[in-house]
Symmetry: C2
């Protein structure tokens, strides 16, 4: 058995049924061990960026760990943007890179450390990716293959998860080893609760005490709840304590839209209702969210300013950041452990009478829908919000939906009405153009070549369009909806606000252009559908969803369509733009509004 | 005047007429300063990788410095593979990335350093690219804009050149500055000759002494000669000393193929004649080459083993590496300075009678052409060598030719017959799939939208195929020749040698596939031409070259076509495979062949 045979045995043991890759000189020996294997399939992509993003989404969908493999040098560096997606969204993923022979590397011979390159396509990928991985390591000797792989996967999955990179020199790839004699990795005793000072039990008591006395409490769930596989426990918790729930984008699919306690998702592009709920609350229990400024607004000191805040985060560095948002109780703990222990003590929880508050939140949810009636009156194009709402109405409970970035991501996260069982995500933290399509490839394989709904933009789809070939080659039943608005809507909106509407590099009369995407999709052999207006919208969405195999569907969006509502920088979270009339705004505020909000001239 | 206005004034002052970019939130303020400017054009590309590679090629073609601009996070990380091209081939280039506001960055507030991300799309690109840049720096305060830009460009261009990255926080982009009050960079006195011990003059005397006494001297020119703008001096030197010349791939276009003293290019995929010349020489004067193992062969101790070696390199780290190849005289000096000073002393150079040696070298050049007569007999497909030779016959002296990597790069570097005035290059050190096409875009802009000949492969062209749109948008007269052999020929050859011909992930029955490239090119709006066989080869090449505007030309290459000759690992440089008969081989050796070469059973 060679090191490479061991490598793939190990991957299989991790539930990895597919690896995404491009071959090359420095990895060809390793990949040869794939020859004839039936227990793992390799997927040849056309750009390593696709391999990296597909692997990351493979992990998100589970149950196996995502894995991408590339050769040294450019193969390795092409992975980095995908690695960043896994890093910022805490997704465990394993990146394997071939490397030149150890004796050909910089530093192997005296005097060679200062050279830029000794071996062909030698690149120090380990140093390069260190800032965006939990661990990046080159195998130091063949016998350590088990130790290093076990440690890498342990680190990727434990604590706050994230990507790891394993760099495998060519000359080690063919070394014979005795799998029984390999040193193994002894994982440290898992420290699920790492809090300092007060014990977890004490903090849970404090949490319960605050929950019982709060008049206007809200629960905030973040990605950490999903990462800790605590979704069902979270639902039990909601049922037991019966308080309004707000979701971050990372946890958007945790609850169905119709759940009576769900207000919505809050943030800079949040639902007005969810933002009002957060801002008027007197207690926020946040579990598994890093409380990023896209969620809190640009001035974290304004976030839930009337509320006590209990923040549960597995990453103590996220708890200890001080940006105006100071938790009253910090709990450095895994979301599943915290919720589990909280549930055990919940019998002592005496439910407050908070009916008014529940009614208020329910009213906000209804009063401020994302999709306004007038959006349906668009004649020449499809309205982005109407598209997302219609699509979500047509999708069944098993759908996986992956959205990209910018305008169409925002429309999705504002208007998509999640059904029980659906999964919906994007690479929220890194937010690259061109994620959703490769991610859809990865997710489809993770599910055994099942259907995935890919929501993309005209700028984004171009980023990795070459891998239409991978979709066609494997007949993956992706439904790729490209919301084409002839440019970067989110940037244009930013330019309208801050830069006098000068659309430098963001619109068609300012240097940008698109190909005829339908023609390109056809050239790759994809079925295509074009949706031009509302009249044909539902019929054609159904046509796409009914079709077997992959379909590319272009949806013509009004280039002037903007992201509504949006928090302009400097405003507190409750005061989204377009501003409500000050009467309406004040009527929604239980706590005193900030003086500047009252001065704002409404923009609706 | 804002920092951003200053930035673009500065770029213009560096001869930069075009910048390659994609906009995004963290760079939009800076790019707004481009609005209405007539002295610099921004080129919107569809993937930042294209911007990075186009900028690098813009520098190669000159006279301006290449510059690519991207937003923070994924925009920045998408540049990296292109940055590596500049790093490994010593190309000065300026990479500018937007960054989140300084007050939103990790570390700006207490306790935030350990977070993975604070600002939206915040990524520590400076740390990530440090290993592959001469300098990567974030602007620390607006007033330092001049100082930092001047230093960055100085470092990019001085000594051994390379890429620099300048990270510009959003909040600095709109700060007003007084350009007259900015601190400036005072360059250190240029140290053109950094040698230790003996003075340059002494070493030049030693060089001349060795040159006058050598019986079989050769001159080796590397990229450094081009980078030091010493090409014309090098030609004077050749004329004065009249000894055979060998070129590395990086300096392949330094001399026309018909130059009487040029033997060819040596190396692992070298011309047999050039390799014989190197290996039989008694003196090698190498100027501006790092003597990489692709040039010396895998065992550097076998390289020119009968020769004294004088090695001139601007990078002392390249001189001091010890891998079996020990220079007799090391000269740490800029190529232009060295050649200039050598020329001044050349009157003392008493030319040896080396007519036999010159004849031998000239004979080798004729006896071992890259393109063998039998290649023309290919019926069903086009032979890669025949294509390159025919193309080079049809190109005029002003052509710029950029080749990609792998098989078609090798065929180019073995068979292309350079004419005076032509430029031919690739990203040799990094050698990514997908370089030549973006590089052709950059080179075309550098030349004022002139024609560029792009030689690409079927695997490579897919990597950045989205930017067909950029070519069509700007009507760039690129002639894109894709040598389509249904897979990765160079990998297959490797797999035949080492892996029993198992073409895992490298051939069409092993997981790989291509789209119909002609269809895809057409979908983007490119004119297309298909060349299927030798009969139509010359006629259709002429058709492509005569057409106005961009043309995509697919050339059907036999998938079984291999790279010939090639040095198999372990063999000395003179003994390329397929091996010559031992009689013929011995007849070519003036110095004693190695015992192992005599034992090799010939494979022809």
């Amino acid at each position: 058995m060679t090191v490479s045979d061991y490598l793939f045995d190990f991957l299989v043991s991790q539930g990895i049924k597919h690896v995404f890759l491009i071959t090359g000189g420095a990895i060809a020996f390793a990949l040869d061990a794939l020859h004839g294997r039936k227990d793992i399939e390799y997927i040849c992509v056309a750009h390593e960026q696709v391999a990296a993003m597909a692997a990351e989404a493979y992990s998100r969908v589970g149950p196996g760990l995502g894995c991408a493999i590339a050769t040294s040098g450019p193969g390795a560096t092409n992975l980095i943007t995908g690695i960043c997606c896994a890093w910022f969204d805490s997704i465990p993923a394993l990146y394997i890179t071939g490397q030149v022979n150890t004796y050909e590397q910089r530093g192997a011979d005296p005097g060679t450390k200062g050279s830029r390159q000794i071996g062909f396509q030698e690149t120090d990928v380990v140093s390069i990716v260190k800032p965006v991985t939990k661990w990046a390591v080159q195998l130091d000797k063949p016998e350590n293959i088990r130790l290093v792989l076990e440690k890498a996967v342990f680190l990727a999955k434990s604590g706050r998860p994230g990507p790891v990179l394993f760099d495998l020199p060519q000359n080690f790839q063919r070394v014979k080893i005795d799998p029984k004699k390999l040193p193994r990795f002894i994982p440290p005793k898992k420290k699920l609760y790492a809090d300092y000072g007060t014990s977890l039990s004490g903090k849970i008591n404090q949490t319960l005490k605050l929950l019982t006395s709060a008049q206007r409490p809200v629960l905030v769930f973040g990605t950490g709840v999903k990462l800790a596989a605590a979704a069902s426990q979270a639902k039990i918790l909601i049922k037991k304590i019966g308080i309004p729930v707000i979701l971050t984008w990372g946890a958007y699919d945790l609850l169905e839209k119709t759940h009576p306690l769900l207000v919505g998702s809050a943030g800079v592009y949040g639902n007005r209702g969810a933002n009002f709920a957060i801002q008027n609350s007197d207690l926020i229990l946040s579990i598994g969210s890093r409380l990023d400024t896209r969620f809190t607004g640009g001035k974290p000191s304004h976030f839930g300013r009337a509320a006590k805040k209990i923040v549960v985060d597995i990453d103590k560095d996220e708890l200890s950041k001080r940006r105006g948002l100071i938790p009253d109780i910090e709990i450095n703990c895994d979301a599943a452990v915290f919720i589990g222990k909280l549930l055990k003590k919940i019998q002592h929880y005496k439910k407050q009478k908070i009916d008014n508050w529940l009614e208020k939140c329910a009213d906000w949810k209804i009063r401020y829908p994302a999709v306004l009636p007038q959006y349906y009156q668009e004649k020449k194009f499809v309205n982005g919000y109407v598209f997302i709402k219609t699509l979500s109405e047509e999708l069944d409970s098993k759908s996986i939906i992956i959205s990209d970035d910018g305008g169409h991501l925002t429309w999705t996260m504002q208007a998509f009405e999640v059904k029980k069982g659906q999964k919906l995500f994007s690479a929220f933290g890194n937010s690259p153009m061109g994620y959703s399509f490769p991610a859809s490839i990865g997710a489809s394989f993770a599910l055994g070549k099942k259907e995935v709904i890919c929501i993309d933009g005209d700028g984004s789809i171009q980023m990795n369009i070459q891998d239409f070939q991978t979709v066609v080659h494997h007949k993956l039943p992706l439904k790729i909806f490209v919301l084409n608005n002839d440019g970067y809507a989110i940037l244009q909106q930013f330019q309208e606000t801050w830069l006098g509407g000068r659309f430098v590099a963001a619109s068609f009369n300012q240097g940008l252009s698109n190909p005829d995407l339908i023609k390109v999709a056809k050239a790759y052999g994809l079925k295509t559908v074009l949706i031009r207006n509302h009249q044909e919208l539902r019929r054609k969405i159904r046509k796409v969803l009914k079709a077997k195999g992959p379909v590319f569907c272009e949806v013509k969006i009004n280039p002037k369509q903007r992201l509504i509502p949006k928090l302009e920088f400097g405003n507190p979270l409750e005061d989204l733009s377009p501003h409500l009339s000050r009467e309406e705004f004040k009527a929604n505020m239980i706590i005193p509004p900030l003086a500047e909000s009252l001065e704002v001239s409404p923009s609706v």
